[in-house]
Subunit: 198 residues, 2 copies
Amino acid sequence: MQNRSAQTHQRILDAALAVFAQSGYEASSVADICAAAGVSKGAFFHHFPTKQAIFLELLEVWLAALDASMETARGETNTVPQAIMQMTGLMSSVSQSASNYLPVFLEFWTQASHDPAVWQAVIAPYHRYQAYFAGLIQEGVAEGSLKPVNPDLSARTIVGLAVGLLLQGVLDPGATDWAQETQHSMQMLIDSFMEVES
Amino acid sequence: MQNRSAQTHQRILDAALAVFAQSGYEASSVADICAAAGVSKGAFFHHFPTKQAIFLELLEVWLAALDASMETARGETNTVPQAIMQMTGLMSSVSQSASNYLPVFLEFWTQASHDPAVWQAVIAPYHRYQAYFAGLIQEGVAEGSLKPVNPDLSARTIVGLAVGLLLQGVLDPGATDWAQETQHSMQMLIDSFMEVES
């Protein structure tokens, strides 16, 4: 029975993701999600107290997958600049697979700004990435691959560029090959952080 | 009478901006805007066919002010790198004054992606800024202040960084002094485009 309950849980998550991507977060109702998942409202509320709880779990699952890919990227590379470029490559593929869902995330994010409790849940991973890149940059400075740049400032610049390019790619997918351009853009930025090889 | 009509038009715009900032775009009704402006629905529809028309006019007014400031910044500076940094300074002050409204713009933008006609109206200024910065970078290459970088790629990188930092500042205003950090971040990027002075 545990197994069947876990399957229902997953089916509701999958259905919610599809419904959100189709109609947007606000316009999607619990009834829509139940219909798409083929479950009763009773079953839904057994698994999730609110529509918001589903969204937060979807976000968590998505970020956990991203974290795992980033760890792999770090493990496969020797220097910090290489690691950041490997992670940038990931970002492009993540954004392509997530392009249906990013508008939903954005919608949720702007709505979350009206609710302090949700806000904390949404801003926490963002602060985590900030801190992660600041730590990575400190490593790069220590290993001698990066100039002694300000870690926090540099991390916010990297995250800022990543977020900005991701957003442009989602909002205007036909403008260019965003995967390739993101690589080039990030390389330009990272070059400016790097010690010139002698 | 023309004057009074123009005043009413402006009063509806001001009221709509306040109502959108307070409640979000989707949640605001024409009735809310009429109540805030102290006008009848008849008067409203005399000036604007839809709530969407108001939004698009607000966007146009905001962008026209930004364009004028950018032209002034260009006129006050000699080289392209100086001009871009002057414009970055503008962006910080624009974003501070607009921080109430940017979530509304974002909300509208994500919703617009479902409506091709609105989409064109919203994406056009974005393409315009892209083209503007590409032209500016070509000028910089021609005047010898910038390396022979790819103008389109560099323009998208500049716009990407600007949009990403603007978004971070709006979503997480307390994290840092965004105005100052935006200057530093953009300077790092522009430095990487610049010819090293001999």
